[in-house]
Symmetry: C2
Subunit: 157 residues, 2 copies
């Protein structure tokens, strides 16, 4: 239950990779292209391309065309939250259909619905969780290009 989609999964991996390259020791500032990520994580190339395009449209990464093109984080990793990433791919967080229901398109249960309010509370709590965790927080455990520069000082979680 409450599974996120493969696309969202891929998005998280890709962003983590981009961040680790961009702020890593080896070639800081280097753009990362789709193919590189796809091969690193065994993700179908064209599906990943879609995901990255969506992330770019949502302003999380910026794209560069042409040869030697690719993607860069649009802002620092500690300014990109998990909620932003997931919502960019899968749409707004909502446990039920009625979460973002507009006036007029009521659900059949709405009239006697007894669980809407408590569920909205749960939903809000989950949102807090996802919005308080950033891409940078995700980079603590498993360094893959190795991040050990001065930028990892004040983390303290």
């Amino acid at each position: 239950m409450l599974k996120i989609s493969k696309k969202a999964d891929y998005a998280l991996m890709a962003l983590q990779h981009i961040a680790s390259v961009q702020f890593g020791d080896v070639t800081p500032g280097r753009v990362v292209n789709t193919k590189e990520i796809a091969e690193e994580f065994n993700i179908p190339l064209e599906l990943l391309a879609k995901v990255l395009q969506t992330l770019a449209k949502n302003g999380l990464i910026e794209s560069h065309n042409g040869p030697k093109g690719g993607y860069l984080l649009a802002r620092r990793a500690n300014k990109i939250t998990i909620a932003q990433i997931l919502e960019g791919i899968e749409g707004p967080l909502g446990l039920t259909d009625c979460s973002h229901e507009k006036e007029g398109e009521l659900c059949l249960q709405r009239e006697h619905c007894n669980i809407r309010t408590p569920l909205l509370k749960v939903q809000d709590s989950i949102y807090q969780l996802l919005n308080n965790m950033t891409l940078q927080d995700m980079m603590g455990g498993t360094p893959l290009i190795t991040i050990q520069s001065a930028s990892t000082q004040g983390v303290a979680q």
Copy 2:
């Protein structure tokens, strides 16, 4: 994103209803049958039947056959958590496929996967949330058997 299924939705409504009947003023201890719940909430009867059967199999409610049969909570409402309800219907909580992966059936990304650990943390936090909230907690706001009489029509939200 992170939407729960209609079945899970129905399960929550049904349990809330059963609890409110069972511990309400009117006819405490009364069993509640499928048809009553289906009509109260506009839920397809046979789909709800499946849901209730599943809940019974999971030990959350107990069933009584025959005429005047129906369902009762298997234990007190404050001993039934949202996590138990949802997991009973939708299976174990898991943000990704690899959440409960057994040794041997690794995902293609596993080798270089950089997000597994942080995602498991998030998942665990969500589980805490869902497992700390009980059916009883869900019954604060909207009394239901209720108050059609002199009650306020001031909708407020």
